[in-house]
C-alpha cells in the first residue's frame, strides 16, 4: 500500500489566504484543492515538498550593545531555520559593518550567505 497523506496550508500569495489541502502519495503531490487560482496550486506543491523561508535575525557587534540586523540572501529550507538562527546567534562581528557585508558565509552548509541589513560604525 502506498503512503497517502493530506496536508493543510494557508496560501500566502495574496490576501485571500486560501486554505489549501495538498494530497501526497509517497511524497509526490497528487492533488491541491481549496486554491482560488493557479498560483495557489504552485504554492501548495512547493510548501508540501520543499518549504523555504528567508531568515532575518540579529548579530552581536563587539564593543556595542546594539546588534546589526541580518538576513539570509535567499530562502533556506524550512527545516534548517532553527540551525541558521543558532549559527547567527553564536556569531559576534567586529565593527565597522556595512549593509551587504557577508557575516556568515554558506550558513549551515545551505549554500546561502547571511548578510548585514543595517550598518554599525
Amino acid at each position: 500500500m502506498s503512503d497517502v497523506e493530506r496536508r493543510e496550508f494557508t496560501c500566502v500569495r495574496c490576501p485571500m489566504g486560501c486554505s489549501l489541502t495538498v494530497s501526497l502519495d509517497d511524497g509526490v503531490v497528487t492533488d491541491v484543492t481549496g486554491n482560488g487560482c493557479p498560483r495557489g496550486h504552485a504554492y501548495g506543491e512547493h510548501e508540501a515538498t520543499h518549504p523555504e523561508r528567508v531568515v532575518t535575525s540579529l548579530v552581536r557587534v563587539a564593543g556595542d550593545f546594539r546588534p546589526v540586523s541580518v538576513k539570509t540572501v535567499s530562502p533556506v529550507p524550512k527545516e534548517c531555520v532553527a540551525d541558521v538562527l543558532a549559527a547567527v546567534a553564536a556569531t559576534t562581528v567586529e565593527p565597522p559593518v556595512s549593509i551587504g557585508d557577508v557575516l556568515v558565509p554558506d550558513v549551515c552548509g545551505t549554500g546561502v550567505d547571511v548578510v548585514a541589513t543595517r550598518a554599525s560604525a
Binding site: 490576501p15 538562527l85 543595517r118
Partner: protein
C-alpha cells in the same frame, strides 16, 4: 528670515517634521522641485519605524524586491543625505508650529540648534503613529514590569539588543504582534499564545501562517486578557473567552496563564501631538488630519503624509504619499498659479462598508486623485464604488478586501469628468454572490 533671541534662524521653504519613510520622501520631492528643505528628526537615526522592522517584506512595489526595513530606510536616507538643498537636523524635536499660510514659525530643540525658531513657507508633518497602550484597553490588576507594547519590545529587541522576557503572552493579533511573536521565539523566548478579542485575526493571513503556524504558536480568537498579576515583575495573566457579539468576557471562563511578559498589539493611531495645535481639523475615523488630494490640511501650507495621516500597512505607499506631500508643499512655498485659483471644494464621504478614507475633500475635482481606504469587514468578490449623485465615477472589483489591507483607488481626470457634487465611496459584496 527672522532672528529670535533663543536661537539662530535658517529659514527654509519647506520644513519636514519626522524622518521616517514619509518624511524622507517628502524632503527629496520638495528639494527636487527647487525648494530649500530642513528635515527634523527627533531620533538619532533616519528611517523611523523601519529601523526596528528587521523582517523582510518591504519595497516589493517600489523596488521590485523584498527588502528588510533597515535596507529600505538606507536607500532613502542616502538620497536625502547626499542632497545639498536638504539640511538634516538629527536628535531634534519639533515642539510647535505657529503662524499660517506661508509664514510659519517652527519651534525646535536639539543639540545642533539649541532651542530655536525657524521660519518656513510650508510644513510637512510626517510624525508617524503611536501604539495604543494598556490604558487604552483597560486591563485590571497591578502595575508590574513586563507589560510592553509590541512596538516598544520590537525596538528594544531589534535596535537595542534586549530581549524583554522569556515566557510571553501576546494580546492582539495585529501584524506587529504576530511579527514579534515570531521574533521573540526566534530569539529564544517561549511565546505561549496570541489572544485576539475579535473573532477574526487582525493581521494578514500571511503573517498568521508564517509567524504563528510555522512556530506552533496558538492563536486564541474571541479571547482577551482580563487581569495581570505580579508585584515587581509580571507573574501571570488571567485570560477569558469573550462573547463574539458583545465582546464582553464570559463569566466562568477565566483561566490563569503563568508568564513574565505581556505584549500589547492593539493598534496604531496617528501621532498628532504637534499638528493638532496648529488648528488642523482631525478626522475621527482615521485619527489623522483631514486633507485634500494634495495632502494639505485645513491649515493652508500645512501638509501631512504617512502614518500620521492614516495608518498604512505598506511602506511603498507611505513613500509615495510622502513624495506627493513634498511636491505640494514645494508648490505652495514657491508659488504655483494653479494653487492660487479659488478652489471648488468637493467633499469625499464614506458610504456603506468603508471604515476610513483619505482625502476627505477635493480642491480641484479635475486633477488626478489617489483615494486610500480601509473597509469595515472582510468581503469576497467585492466592488468599491465611487459615486457622485447617481453618476458612477468608478467601480473597482476586488476578489477580497480585508480591514488590515489598505485599498488604493486612482481616479483620472477622465473618471472625474462627470463629478457634479460630493463623492461617496462605498464597498459591498456583489449581489447574488456569497
Amino acid at each position: 528670515m527672522r532672528t529670535t533671541p533663543c536661537g539662530h534662524d535658517d529659514g527654509s521653504d519647506v520644513i519636514v517634521v519626522g524622518g521616517g519613510a514619509a518624511g524622507l520622501a517628502a524632503a527629496s520631492a520638495a528639494a527636487s522641485d527647487g525648494a530649500t528643505v530642513t528635515l527634523v528628526e527627533r531620533e538619532g537615526h533616519l528611517g523611523g519605524i523601519l529601523q526596528q522592522c528587521i523582517h523582510n517584506g518591504f519595497g516589493l512595489h517600489r523596488f521590485g524586491e523584498e527588502l528588510t526595513g533597515p535596507e529600505y530606510a538606507a536607500r532613502d536616507a542616502r538620497m536625502v543625505e547626499a542632497d545639498p538643498s536638504i539640511r538634516v537636523l538629527m536628535d531634534t524635536s519639533v515642539l510647535a508650529v505657529d503662524g499660517d499660510d506661508d509664514a510659519f514659525d517652527v519651534t525646535l530643540v536639539g543639540p545642533e540648534v539649541g532651542m530655536a525658531h525657524m521660519s518656513a513657507r510650508s510644513v510637512v508633518f510626517a510624525c508617524g503613529s503611536r501604539e495604543r497602550g494598556r490604558g487604552a484597553i483597560g486591563i485590571a490588576g497591578s502595575r508590574p514590569a513586563g507589560v510592553y507594547t509590541a512596538g516598544s519590545a520590537q525596538r528594544l529587541c531589534n535596535c537595542d539588543g534586549a530581549l524583554v522576557g522569556r515566557r510571553v503572552v501576546v494580546l492582539g493579533s495585529g501584524d506587529i504582534g504576530l511579527i514579534m511573536a515570531r521574533r521573540m521565539t526566534w530569539q529564544g523566548a517561549h511565546v505561549l499564545m496570541v489572544c485576539e478579542l475579535a473573532s477574526e485575526p487582525g493581521g494578514l493571513r500571511r503573517n498568521i501562517a508564517q509567524c504563528l503556524d510555522d512556530n506552533s504558536i496558538p492563536l486564541h480568537l474571541s479571547t482577551t486578557v482580563t487581569r495581570v498579576f505580579g508585584h515587581d515583575r509580571l507573574e501571570a495573566v488571567e485570560i477569558a473567552d469573550v462573547d463574539p457579539r458583545t465582546l464582553v468576557p464570559v463569566p466562568g471562563t477565566e483561566r490563569r496563564v503563568e508568564c513574565d511578559t505581556l505584549l500589547l498589539s492593539v493598534g496604531l493611531i496617528p501621532e498628532n501631538a504637534v499638528i493638532t495645535a496648529t488648528g488642523a481639523e482631525i478626522d475621527q475615523t482615521t485619527g489623522g488630519p483631514a486633507v485634500d488630494e494634495s495632502l494639505e490640511t485645513s491649515v493652508p501650507g500645512v501638509f501631512v503624509a504617512g502614518n500620521e495621516l492614516h495608518v498604512h500597512d505598506l511602506v511603498d505607499f507611505v513613500s509615495e504619499e510622502g513624495g506627493a506631500a513634498g511636491h505640494a508643499a514645494a508648490a505652495h512655498a514657491l508659488g504655483d498659479a494653479d494653487r492660487d485659483a479659488a478652489p471648488t471644494w468637493v467633499r469625499v464621504t464614506k458610504g456603506e462598508g468603508v471604515g476610513s478614507l483619505t482625502p476627505q475633500r477635493l480642491r480641484d475635482p479635475a486633477d488626478e486623485v489617489t483615494l486610500r481606504l480601509r473597509v469595515r469587514s472582510r468581503m469576497t468578490d467585492a466592488v468599491i464604488s465611487i459615486m457622485s449623485g447617481d453618476a458612477v465615477v468608478k467601480r473597482v472589483r476586488k476578489r477580497v478586501v480585508v480591514p488590515s489591507e489598505m485599498q488604493t483607488v486612482r481616479l483620472t481626470p477622465a473618471d472625474l469628468a462627470p463629478v457634479t457634487g460630493d463623492l461617496v465611496v462605498s464597498c459591498s459584496e456583489r449581489e447574488g454572490v456569497e
